[in-house]
Symmetry: C2
Subunit: 462 residues, 2 copies
């Protein structure tokens, strides 16, 4: 950065809004992903919309690229500054601005933590249904930029469904107020939906309007053992037709073994060993619900879809069942997992798991692959564990070599190379497996409209 | 059209795919709106995706603009050809292609009638929740192009929420397959949502993938009398917090009087006269629901929000109550209504009705204004009736003069000049009241990306 640029920056930001120490650069310069090193030039902390506009205009004038930074819990390096960019951290724009109980709209600044939104909603007697591992540290701005998904998508959909209005500063430095929390608004292209999931490449959010909903009724958790993963969808369809299914997760026996080995207090849900386990969370909406759950469970058993199963009898048991699924990532982390996050149509997920497992095993027979994920929405997390005798570098190199095999499969299944983690830097070279050349060209041209100088989050996605 | 162009057209369309008689030009050349006359040069009927691609490439080559045409039930002239365009009618691309009961995805061609989709879903035991007056003749392509709304938006949202995949031919003649019915797909900007609501200006749909859901449980209808419209939201909030509200409609006493005068078989829901009536449809989800409805109704009464009210005791009564709302448009049509369709945030709707009514009455004290609409989603239908002593032409001219007053109000309330009817030709000159100059410039640039020669539906929206 030139001296003139720095001097200019100081005309609209105070000294305490700018950080540049080595630890700060490392902390704010990257997300949770591990394959790209942080190398920003400065970290800045806007405190209001005007600061953000001034930053973008300054960046255009001095040709300094900006990288937005929220809770930095992303896994695609979309919030990683690798090339002397200035990181724009939204930590100080963290106020809840308004709650309207008729509209059920909660208005927040982008730096508000996702869990704060969940808790606020709950205190008011309502519900924010986007829920995923990083809710405790992710910021709302980041969740909107990545269109966050998680465990409740099967019933409630993605973050996209819950954003009723957005204030945005584009890469041109223009302030837009999109959709204004209108329920019906047929006045041309909906730019709000273009910004949601744009990974900070089109604009920075300065205000987020969130639609809340009613709290779910009492939730029951079932864990069911399956010999054949395809039966998970028979079970899902059976329950989903008669009840409100709020989560539909699966994990392999290997995944559960790793969790049980790492957590002595947890135990298997039942004695029978199965190849896969399905975790279903359903809503009890009134009298007769408990009996209905039992009846549907029996149907699944009688049809030979499940080999064994349990229904939670209290909230502690529900929590324990959920732990079997939620502790997987943490339990396998000592094995240096090479993670992948992909999706296919729900109906094709079991077949995809089977054929992909075969392909991986054929090329790498000694690799242990841990499968788990959100089978009810077609989102599969593939975790390849490092064989002991392979160095970390060699393992990553081999895994990256296997990525192409995996993504060819994805393309064959009309799937997505990134279900919910985004593209960022991590997957940009694979984007063509999910989007056609014509689509990618359109994405690039849209980027140019919003960011004519390629100044905000350049080089991400494509 | 030049002879060369016509000759070229005949190389890829058969004679029976082209119509040019005066009645055909009139029929296919316009939608239900009345302010723009039909003046197309030809009507063509593609039968497959290749026909559509060939048509667009032909149009680019010969510089002949195309106008898409579905069921032509629109009210904004988005599907009206005023300037010798070739109308592309999708009547013959009307096949249901696939239904997957695990994904609950129904795949159709764009010419399938909306009601056909509703009926198909019902036959399979599921539900397509987009419902509005023109379901019997609108085509799915048109409903996606306008992001159709209607009476169930309060619970189920707009058409946008139910489209999981789209095949599109852009104005450049490129075929795109967007989102492929993936539930999670974080691979860059979601172009599907850009196309939904684009009024045929970015591309023509050739395949639509529709997400179905479960059927609602038993529905109860309440009609409640209100002295003050603002109490409608107290009632809505009270019911919506405890139950699933599937519709929340309102109409003025004047509106009901017109319906009762035109339909001798219908009667007022109760004897007490009220200024406004609120129609609530709620879902009975289990035992205790009937008692809960009674209790909430009592609460509303005791709080002084409602002056009288009835709860439907059977489906015939529910239907009669709905008729009071649904017959309004038809009942006022002999009075040459000047219609407007606008929205504001739900919480601001009652105040907007009040202040807007005052403004209209101040300028035009002799005008009768009929208010009704979807108060639960902030969508208000304003119908100004023609005074007997005014000629139709003079009346329309005066109403159009009043439009600016109305839209200034809308802008003041951060509302939408078009809640669900779209912009088309009818409202393009008013677009600036709802979208900023910066936004409109972005819309225009997006149009250029998808349609570099301005060949599909030129001059619509902006």
């Amino acid at each position: 950065m030139t001296d003139a640029a720095l001097k200019d920056l100081q005309t609209f930001l105070t000294a305490n809004q700018v950080k540049g120490s080595a630890p700060d650069l490392q902390t704010y310069g990257k997300d949770w992903s591990i394959y790209h090193a942080a190398n920003p030039s400065l970290i800045v902390f806007p405190e209001n919309e005007k600061n953000v506009v001034d930053l973008v205009l300054w960046a255009r004038k001095h040709k300094v690229p900006l990288v937005p930074s929220g809770g930095r819990t992303g896994l695609s390096s979309a919030a990683t500054a690798t090339n002397k960019e200035v990181v724009v951290a939204f930590d100080r724009m963290n106020q809840i601005l308004d709650f309207n109980e008729t509209d059920l709209v909660l208005t927040v600044q982008p730096g508000v933590i996702t869990e704060t939104v969940q808790n606020f909603a709950e205190e008011k007697g309502y519900y924010y249904p986007v829920d995923f591992a990083a809710v405790g540290s992710s910021q709302m701005g980041g969740t909107v930029a990545t269109n966050a998904g998680g465990v409740k998508v099967v019933k409630y959909g993605l973050t996209r469904n819950w954003i009723s209005g957005l204030k945005v500063v584009t890469g041109a430095g223009e302030s837009l107020y999109l959709n204004k929390s209108l329920k019906k608004n047929a006045t041309g292209y909906d730019l709000r939906h273009l910004l949601i999931g744009s990974e900070g490449t089109l604009g920075f959010f300065t205000q987020i309007e969130i639609q809340l909903t009613n709290q779910p009724k009492e939730l029951k958790v079932l864990v069911l053992g399956l010999e054949h993963l395809e039966n998970s969808l028979d079970v899902f369809r059976t329950f989903n037709k008669k009840m409100s299914v709020t989560a539909c997760e699966f994990f392999s026996h290997q995944a559960m073994e790793k969790v049980l080995a790492a957590h002595a207090k947890l135990s298997a849900p039942f004695e029978t060993q199965a190849s896969f386990y399905l975790l279903l969370e359903v809503e009890q909406t009134g009298e007769g619900s408990a009996e209905l759950i039992e009846a549907l469970f029996s149907d699944c058993f009688e049809n030979g879809w499940v080999s064994d199963g349990v229904i939670s009898q209290n909230s502690q048991q529900s929590e324990n069942f959920w732990s079997l699924r939620e502790y997987i990532s943490e339990s396998i982390s000592p094995f240096t997992p090479y993670k992948n996050d992909v999706s296919v149509r729900v109906s094709r997920a079991p077949e995809f798991v089977k054929t992909t497992q075969e392909i991986i095993q054929k090329s790498y027979p000694d690799w242990e692959v841990i499968w788990f994920g959100h089978i009810g929405d077609g989102n599969l997390h593939i975790n390849i564990l490092k064989p002991k005798d392979l160095s970390r570098e060699e393992f990553i190199k081999k895994c990256q070599g296997a990525d192409d095999l995996l993504y060819q499969q994805i393309a064959k299944y009309d799937g997505s190379i990134s279900a919910e983690h985004g593209v960022g830097l991590a997957k940009k070279k694979f984007l063509h497996y999910s989007r056609s050349p014509e689509e990618i060209e359109i994405l690039k041209q849209i980027k140019k409209i919003f960011d004519p100088d390629n100044i905000i989050n350049p080089g991400k996605i494509f």
